[in-house]
């Protein structure tokens, strides 16, 4: 048997199986141990390819990474929006407090200060989510290189949810979400 000069990972399983087949035809006394080891390697390559194929198509969406990234970025946007509304309200309270007597004004100002301090959560969570997004992007790149190294894979078809479970897809991303006006129009059109 001649060895391919450029043996690739996708060929490795077939190559090993050919070696195993040829070894079995030999009458060497200790071949069984070697055959067992090679069979183990062959099985391991097959299992790994299968697992990577399943991972590539897992979670019911070939674009699971980009979808997850979008979801995480939406969290940052939504929390920023909510935080700004909270601060709008706090700033209004602060203006009213400035018109009051020292006692109640002081109490209100302390409360407003606490709101400003607590609003920093948006910055902290935003930074943490950004780190997660970067980790996901790195994972996606590594998975792409791994799947490329293993050659064409049979992607397992993920089980699609059925019945009521198929209706659970929210919350919608803002860029693809229907507005209340859209919903009202749809609702009205249904009679």
């Amino acid at each position: 048997m001649t060895q391919s000069p450029n043996l690739q990972l996708p060929d490795a399983e077939g190559y090993l199986n050919r070696v195993i087949g040829e070894l079995r035809t030999l009458k060497a006394p200790h071949k069984n141990t070697l055959v067992s080891v090679l069979e183990y390697l062959s099985d391991h390559i097959r299992l790994t390819r299968s697992e990577i194929g399943a991972l590539k198509s897992g979670s019911g969406n070939a674009q699971v990474f980009s979808t997850t990234t979008d979801e995480l970025e939406e969290i940052v946007t939504e929390t920023a929006r909510a935080t700004n509304r909270i601060m709008d309200a706090a700033e209004s309270v602060e203006k009213v407090a400035a018109t009051l007597e020292a006692g109640p004004a002081g109490t209100l100002m302390d409360a407003v200060t606490s709101i400003y301090e607590a609003s920093a959560f948006q910055d902290i969570t935003g930074q943490r989510i950004t780190k997660i997004v970067r980790a996901l992007q790195s994972l996606e790149e590594k998975l792409a290189s791994l799947t490329s190294a293993f050659g064409p894979l049979e992607e397992a078809q993920p089980a699609k949810p059925e019945g009521d479970a198929a209706l659970l897809n929210g919350p919608q991303l803002e860029k693809s979400a229907a507005s209340q006006t859209d919903i009202d129009a749809l609702f009205a059109s249904l009679g």
Partner: protein
């Protein structure tokens, strides 16, 4: 200890929410002369045009980080004397050491409170402390 209410402060953060928080907390300290920048580069150009009395900057920004900004400020003859407070979620020892080596005047870890902000501002002006 009283603060110089007329001081001009440049605040730098890539999160507009944090800029708003800082501006509001500074207003409560009666410091109203505040300019904002969303990244280190913009802040540096803002400072070159009109040097402030104090810089309060985040660390984790792109492309010019707060540490880069600090180094630029300390290397600039016109700006190097300006007190520079780093306000950041980076709290590892090596971060604090690097900032100190780059010439930071004080260091605030997020999340922080108004008392800490006030104390750190007072601390970077020796005449007030």
């Amino acid at each position: 200890m009283s603060l110089n209410k007329n001081m001009r402060v440049v605040i730098v953060d890539d999160y507009t929410t944090m800029l708003r928080i800082l501006r509001n907390l500074l207003r409560q300290l009666e410091i109203n002369n505040v300019d904002e920048a969303n990244d280190g580069d913009t802040a540096y150009h803002l400072m070159q045009k009109n040097p402030p009395d104090l810089v309060i900057s985040d660390w984790n920004m792109v492309p010019v980080t707060g540490l880069d900004l600090l180094r630029r400020v300390r290397a600039d003859a016109k700006l190097k004397h300006i007190p520079f407070i780093m306000v950041t979620a980076e709290s590892k020892t090596e971060n604090v050491v690097a900032a100190k080596q780059a010439g930071v005047s004080n260091y605030i870890v997020k999340p922080f409170n108004a008392d800490t902000l006030r104390a750190k501002i007072v601390s970077v002006f020796p005449a007030m402390a």
